[in-house]
Symmetry: C2
Subunit: 772 residues, 2 copies
Amino acid sequence: MKNYIVHDAWHIIEMGFDPALNRVSESIFSIGNGRMGQRANFEEQYTGDTLQGSYIAGVYYPDKTRVGWWKNGYPEYFAKVLNAANWIGIDVAVDGVPLDLHTMQVSHFKRVLHMKEGYLLRQFTARFPDGKEVEVEAIRFCSLVDDECGVIRYRITAKNFSGTVAMTPYIDGGVRNADSNYDELFWEPVAKRGSEHRALLTMRTKKTDFWVTTGMHYELTHDGGNLTPREVAIEREDYMARSVTVEILEGETVEVRKYAVNLSSENHPKPEMADRAGQLLDRVVGKGFDCLLTEQADAWGLKWAESDVSIEGDVAAQQAIRFNIFQLHQTYTGEDDRLNIGPKGFTGEKYGGSTYWDTEAYCLPFYLATAPPRVARNLLVYRYKHLPKAIANAEKLGFGAGAALYPMVTINGEECHNEWEITFEEIHRNGAIAFAIYNYIRYTGDTSYLAQYGLEVLIGIARFWAQRVNWSEVRQRYVMLGVTGPNEYENNVNNNWYTNTIASWCLEYTISALGEVRESNAERYAAIVAKTALQTSETDRWAMIRSQLYYPVDEARGIFLQQDGFLDKALVPATDIPDEQRPLNQHWSWDRILRSCYIKQADVLQGLYLLEDRFDVETIRRNYDFYEPLTVHESSLSPCVHAILAARLGDEARAYQFYLRTARLDLDDYNNDTEDGLHITSMAGTWMSVVEGFAGMRVRDGRLHFNPMVPGKWTSYTFRVRFRGALLTVHITPKAVTFSNDGEQPASITVFGEHLAVDKKATVATPNYEKA
Amino acid sequence: MKNYIVHDAWHIIEMGFDPALNRVSESIFSIGNGRMGQRANFEEQYTGDTLQGSYIAGVYYPDKTRVGWWKNGYPEYFAKVLNAANWIGIDVAVDGVPLDLHTMQVSHFKRVLHMKEGYLLRQFTARFPDGKEVEVEAIRFCSLVDDECGVIRYRITAKNFSGTVAMTPYIDGGVRNADSNYDELFWEPVAKRGSEHRALLTMRTKKTDFWVTTGMHYELTHDGGNLTPREVAIEREDYMARSVTVEILEGETVEVRKYAVNLSSENHPKPEMADRAGQLLDRVVGKGFDCLLTEQADAWGLKWAESDVSIEGDVAAQQAIRFNIFQLHQTYTGEDDRLNIGPKGFTGEKYGGSTYWDTEAYCLPFYLATAPPRVARNLLVYRYKHLPKAIANAEKLGFGAGAALYPMVTINGEECHNEWEITFEEIHRNGAIAFAIYNYIRYTGDTSYLAQYGLEVLIGIARFWAQRVNWSEVRQRYVMLGVTGPNEYENNVNNNWYTNTIASWCLEYTISALGEVRESNAERYAAIVAKTALQTSETDRWAMIRSQLYYPVDEARGIFLQQDGFLDKALVPATDIPDEQRPLNQHWSWDRILRSCYIKQADVLQGLYLLEDRFDVETIRRNYDFYEPLTVHESSLSPCVHAILAARLGDEARAYQFYLRTARLDLDDYNNDTEDGLHITSMAGTWMSVVEGFAGMRVRDGRLHFNPMVPGKWTSYTFRVRFRGALLTVHITPKAVTFSNDGEQPASITVFGEHLAVDKKATVATPNYEKA
């Protein structure tokens, strides 16, 4: 845990340069626009510790999988998001000596992420060994408007000397992934094209043959006036630079504006990429830096107008929630149904930038409520398009007849993970993908989705569950053997309550979805039945399995059991674990974790969260009281569910404690791993903690329900949600709950069980009964 | 499964050259002497498919471990037996064209392993593209007498031409391991020394800095007369050759005798190695090839005199048992307590040449019965010496206070394996190591071993079990969670019956061993108590755990349950698995194997085998009848236990069927994996199938017991066992059982429950009551 980020409502601020924190800050100050992402590496050379990272959405490399003991069914490769050509680089030298913060005295160092306007600012003063001092200010952003474009303004001022400053903006395709399993280079050069002030470099990925053209165009200003000194071109096979040297006097400033573009063959025909990159550069250079920065601020203004959460009275909480929302928008914009959300977004290499169940289980609610429905819908369509591969994946594991098992980790629909206890057994992911369909329709009311896409996915998933259970003679029930639940601190267990529960729910929902489509769209229904060769005997069997599925329970305690045999463990609260042994996964061997009672994230509680309406509050409370003390929250996805349930149970203190734990996870580097990248998917959980936790927002019967509470430290909080054409601003104080509707449709709301109608353009207030 | 080895009582014979079988034959025709081993690679160049393998006992390389997802507690490296310098190479060229069976017509090809005399013969005729034909005969062996020495006699005859024959004996240190995880070279050259007819090359292993000096000396004979043509030296950094060219006439023969030595820094001071290699070469060259071959036959004669099993009436069974005995002796001679037995011996790289529980569970009985007691004792001392590392290993997993967990896989005492479900959870290996101490003392009567070495090991192991169990409130019993039993087709199960049973047995035996040593050697007892800081409270706790340990059972069937929840599985006999899905581990994904009822090797039966005297025959029968149909025998260690139990239950047909399955496993390449090397450790199981299975040999109360049967196809069988100074030849026919004692002590024997005394030099016969 660290605590060096200055608290501020709209800015993320680092004061002073600590090389030991550099990788952490490189993650935190990442910028992106859904199409590309960039860690907060320096423009100028830095020979100290750094993880360079420039990422292009959708461009991946099938890295040869590293594995010790091969198991039948393991994938051949792990699809990795690539560290792509460095487009930010601007080497600087003063009188021939390179500017490099690793080798000189640094003062007045400051990094600021301007979240409202969407750019990164860096300032510092550097003292060269010979005493010369320069002041530097660098601003950069990835444009939301021109989403293939990144822009940098880099200013250097001679503080106490006159001399020459050489500026060398470049593009470097000779980059590596730090996590390349066999130290392979993933890229090879295709073509170069250069002219004065401009360079275009096209690289291709090996094996996958993605092409990316990275282009740059720079402008130079000397103390306010444009300059065109003699340019020296430096080019290697995978590197292009343009170097200019300027004589400056003490107090003068040289400014470079570097316009960069990244075009991918996913979006452009390969033969035209270089031409198009040049055209795009012409366009953005034509706009100019100031115009692009204004457009950026306007575009971010629109995002904030739909999704801001403001908190009065608690600046740490305020900063944290905005940071999380900011990073989520930087990662995924919903414009492209081939893209999805990696656990680290575009802020690091870990988890390979691939898609996990996190998207459906944690991210979907955020995008449902804060973006137009097509954004969430695109996340669902991504999985629909992968259905054939999910069916093929299930076949590899011995299933058939159209059963689908979605991959644990994927970019293109193929499984990339290779731990048997996860890849083959953490099958609850199928449930999250089905539940997301239900959740999307419940929230948006877009029932057409079921016929168009959803039902086929549900049939594949239901078939999987029906084949995955077996009949137990001794129990006279169906059982599900050998699974790993969301609590990954248990492996290969029998009858994980969450998995059995979500499997049963899938069967039920698929049966009901079949009925709905049959009623609403007989033609499409017939087409789907024909396409999937669905038999009546199948649905009969699904209903029978549902009615005879076994669930482990502890009758005495009145709780659901995480899995068979859970009560055989020594049940010792997590508070008894010595601090120096936390986190367990860095201190205990795996067997010790597995046979302990400690829970990474409590999956019984996850099930109660998802299917809350099916359980009475006392059942939730008993389970919460049993599992919460055993939970070590070593998954970043854990605290948010506890925050929401604690709020549901009226336990404000614990809800607030869990909120803080999830909200400032990266800003305060809670788990000592922010250097690897940000926990993007758990950031959506932070949003849920506020909106579903403190505000108690639920969707039932086509209405939004609220049961708000206000954490003690907070004066008030406000958030915006879209709901079926309404755009609501929800303002909650200890006294009142106020709804303003800026949308196109009226909203039907239930607050503390009372119905409210909020017409468009109307504002309606109701007393806050929380403390009543 | 293949069937190309010609059946013969004393020879392993391959007729004709099939390149597709070459790797299989290279394994089968391996030679070795416990100090070094050599696959049956060709002396002359071979550009076809081959796995080169020359291995030196005790010389290993810590190969960087390949793993996908690191778990806390995993080892940093996998210690691998090394492919060492090629000492067999003799390149041959006729009129400048290399002899290479891959590129020419081959006829009259024959490989013969002369097991009685301990050498490999190869003969062939090769036709060069231009029609020239040569006849070749090569004999080679690794000397049992001079165990750092290998010898080759290579004869080539010009059949239909006159011309030049160039012979180039060489040593090549530039070898690689095929299984090097990162394609590293493990060796680097240290020094070379050459003179006429002789070359010495010293290589060192990276990281471990083992030095091996490989030396050669050759002699050349032309049509019977010695020759000294001009020799050309060819040397590179890691390669030394001596090339001579001879003019021969049609029908003439050139013969090279190559004497090679391999000295390891494990046995010689590094500065002296080259000198000593030269001295050893002087010595063996002085003896000459014929003398060395005679000595070899004599030394093998002594081994066979102690360990031969002869079978009348079934040449396939006869050949197989001799092959297994031959390979066991080639792998381990018991001369060096730093060495042990790898699952593949020195016949391939798989399993890294490391030690598994196989040694204690399967190999020990063979060496106990067929070699002087010091051989088996050295196997035990090997583990005693590793006790500090076993204690350190347990500490890594969170145990303390002297608890010891022996590694799953090791060369030097450190754990080398990295699958959590094996490394951390297949802890029954501790039980095998404790049981081996009991077994050794039971067999040899050498009770002094307990005080000298055994007790300390037992205390460490007992402490481990006592910490590994936990109290289950719901069961009011101690339970053992998260283990993998010998049946590795279940992982991370709770209360594996075998593991609980052997753990309990360990506690009991340790308590009784403490009492024994206290009685017999009070001084040593006090020293051990002081050294281990043993508390009375510990032994009290061991007794309590023993009395309150939980065992899963099925009361209805009257069987022990493999683990908690086993009966939840769909119980379908293995005969229902379609042939094309066998072996399961090559066709099913791991999760499917795990949740199936199919058993790799039946560990309940393993427990009944080890502790047979504690169970009545009906209990054994019920468990056998339940588990045998579910067992797929995909461990090579499985069939022998079934053979012994089937024999115990009087089921001769099944016992014979299992015997054949284990005995000809490699000769007939039953599992299609002999090309990787031979299943050395399971070969000891074959011997057990005969001696403990058909002959029903047991040790009880210091006596040998027999309950012989004769498989229908056999006329009779004979084997030799040592027992407490007696050396018994046991001859069993359907009519009589005859014992001859060539040892120094009388033997007390019980046959079909009747006591017999067999004085030294006496022969005693008793009727065979088997069919009575």
